[in-house]
Amino acid sequence: MEMETDALPNGSSASSTTGSTTSAPATPTAAITAGAVSASALPSSKLTQLAESLKLEHQFLRVPFEHYKKTIRANHRIVEKEVSAVISGVAEAADSAELSRDDAVQQLNSLVSRLQGLKRKLEEGSRTEHLQAQRCRARLDHLESADAENLSEWNNIRLKRILVDYMLRMSYYDTAIKLAGSSSIQDFVDIDVFFEAKKVIEALQSKEVAPALAWCADNKSRLKKSKSKFEFQLRLQEFIELVRAENNMRAITYARKYLAPWGATHMKELQRVMATLAFKSNTECPTYKVLFEAKQWDYLVDQFKQEFCRLYGMTLEPLLNIYLQAGLSALKTPFCYEDDCTKEDPLSQESFRKLALPLPYSKQHHSKLVCYITKELMDTENPPLVLPNGYVYSTKALEEMAKKNDGRITCPRTGLVCNYTEVIKAYIS
């Protein structure tokens, strides 16, 4: 079933996938829907692979969906709150004994304008929700659009998406924006979601917890569901800062208000931090010294990033790392680290070799042999032939060589010359 001879890994344009005589599309309907160009359909193995790889795109659909849900929730809360306020406004007016008529009219008028305002907000909110729903749909469309004809372009976009994801995770926002803009894939990446995180991260890096706390409030119920203690950690840090500034009285008041509620579930940690009251910020005692270090803020940033990713259904590690690790391991053989490793192999590059060092080697259950001359597989259709000196080349390569040289073969690696009739066929399963 072999057909492509030297397709580039990313599959260049359709021109490289010609002549698939042995692999027909799966069903008659498949043949029809395969569309116009079809002599150059991809083999079914490539299509199965494509389908498998699409299953990896959970994050692609989940993130805009989470964002959408969040907007819906927030909008609904506003409507509820306002309508509630109007109802209680009416109740208040109805119950108030000494309400003058003018006051009653004023009160009712204010309620009416509140409702008018709400209606406007609702329209605006509805537009935002609609846009976000459209983004979700656009991504579904994109997944469905992947097919044989646009495969290499689709893969290029995927590669870019993976890189944009990396830039956003590392907070390289300008690079992310430029990269997304270069192929107009802004709808396929979540820059806006990460911008939300940017505010919190930058504040934490400037030792401010306010935006982070606001974020916790915004996502209160979901954080509670996942039993997150992030808010607690933020409060602890604020407490430490008060102790650092030697504001012990304020620190204690703060602790009573904000830390005590967490005591039930996190008593040990609470006690440990409370003990810092007894020390100064330049203490040498190791247990408590560490709590005063600036590194704690970096830790908070990391914690936030984790909570954030979890909330949006994103992997904790960048997609780039995940895919790259998989690729390196799948490609890694001891031969990659030899000097004569072909430059086509990414592991011929120093940087890749370095990254692949701690990763496991790939495994084969069956021999896979590559002809030194043609770089093609030597299999039953193109069996390996052995020269008198033990060097092996493919039938295709040696036949061609013999044809051009009066039946003589010259081993490209040792220089040995022999006759084509002298080579032996090797049987390798």
Partner: protein
């Protein structure tokens, strides 16, 4: 039908999302309806209060300035308003439609989790993935793709050292490619001459192909005379080595203006330019000691192909996390496309061991191949002759020859 195994599930995903869209619209219109209802009642009450005032105007107390409704009437209007609102139960209505919306949202989430893999990080190993090395790799990729300003931005934001010489090289490549887009082969030819020594055989072939392409272009776009001039200057010197080719090209001169219906129609196929662009790019990258789709592209493509298998493996080994992290070799093969096979891997059919320097593949006289260790075992440490496990022809250790793939 491209994503045949995924089309069904994707369409059920789409259906679930369509339902969400419907419920969301309903929810919005319900909210609007509720707001309108409440507003209507409040406005009605307002009217009542104010009209009540008109009706009782006649009863006004001349002595006081206070032109009030009788407090009891106002009270009862407000009470009635409150009761009406209770009956409408706006909050309940809102809750109702929101509940339905939430149900459809949850349903979509479930379908999503079922159709696509919710956690692709299961196979990830927390090893040191040095960011600087990674950034070098990414920069190389950006240069290769001609995304120079993106690269510059990364250098700045990540604080990476500049890679000036690499950048220059790829700037050169993209200048060549840009020119080729405009059917100008000057820069390409110049590059070939500059690096002629190192290109060796390849250089000559490239020169020929480039000149051929340019010749045909001139013939089509300009005139016979120009083409002839070009041929005299550039093709003649190559004639000694590539006589056949040159003769063919000269034949083209007879079909000026009708080349696409001539026996030489393939020469004017526009895909020749695409192919040439690809070839130049490959040569150029090879010169820089790397593959033509950037090494990052290749590695990621391999990763995308291989990750599903690794995820399955990680799931199976979920309970043995230590083993997973400590393994030196994957326990199962990760099948990749042929294009990722860069090395010959010999696997002994008997021992399933991979060939190596200490354990090379050996050819038996019958033509079957086993690894050295297996042969030693079968021959009881080279003492006896043995039968090949496959054919069963007799063989002795001395008859076996080492193979070099």
């Amino acid at each position: 039908m491209s994503t045949s195994s995924l089309e069904m599930p994707l369409s059920s995903l789409r259906d679930a999302f369509d339902r969400v869209g419907k419920k969301q619209k309903l929810s919005i219109s319900k909210s609007q309806e509720v707001i309108d209802q409440v507003r209507h009642e409040v406005e009605q009450a307002l009217v009542d209060i104010q009209s009540d005032h008109v009706a009782t105007w006649a009863l006004v107390d001349i002595q006081s300035d206070d032109v009030a409704t009788s407090p009891i009437d106002q009270r009862s209007i407000l009470d009635e308003l409150r009761n009406k609102l209770n009956m409408i139960a706006p909050l309940n209505q809102l809750e109702g439609s929101q509940k339905e919306l939430n149900l459809s949202l949850n349903k979509y989430q479930k379908v999503l989790d079922k159709t696509l893999n919710p956690d692709i990080s299961k196979a990830y190993r927390n090893v040191d993935f040095d960011p600087h090395t990674l950034h070098q790799i990414i920069l190389n990729h950006f240069y290769r793709e001609g995304l120079f300003d993106v690269a510059d931005s990364l250098i700045q934001e990540a604080g990476e050292p500049e890679a000036i010489s690499l950048r220059l090289k790829f700037v050169e490549l993209h200048e060549i490619l840009e020119a080729m887009k405009l059917r100008n082969l000057e820069p390409a030819l110049q590059w070939v001459s500059e690096n002629f020594e190192q290109l060796k055989e390849c250089g000559l072939f490239l020169k020929l192909k480039l000149h051929k392409l340019q010749f045909v272009e001139i013939l089509q776009k300009r005139c016979q005379a120009d083409a002839l001039d070009y041929a005299k200057t550039y093709l003649a010197p190559l004639a000694s080595v590539h006589m056949d080719e040159i003769q063919k090209l000269m034949g083209c001169l007879l079909w000026v203006g009708k080349l696409d219906s001539s026996p030489y129609s393939e020469l004017v196929d526009p895909s020749n330019w695409e192919k040439m662009t690809e070839e130049i790019t490959e040569q150029f990258c090879s010169f820089l000691g790397q593959s033509s789709p950037s090494p990052l592209s290749v590695a990621l493509a391999a990763g995308i192909e291989g990750l599903p298998t690794l995820l399955k493996l990680a799931t199976v080994m979920a309970a043995k996390k230590q083993e997973w992290l400590a393994m030196k070799q994957l326990p199962v093969p990760v099948e990749l496309g042929k294009e990722f096979q860069y090395h010959s891997i010999f696997v002994c059919p008997v021992s399933r061991e991979q060939g190596s320097e200490e354990n090379p593949p050996m050819l038996l006289p019958c033509g079957h191949v086993l690894c050295k260790h297996s042969i030693h075992k079968l021959s009881k440490n080279s003492t006896r002759s043995f039968k090949c496990p496959y054919c069963p022809q007799d063989a002795s250790v001395t008859q076996c020859r080492q193979l070099f793939f």
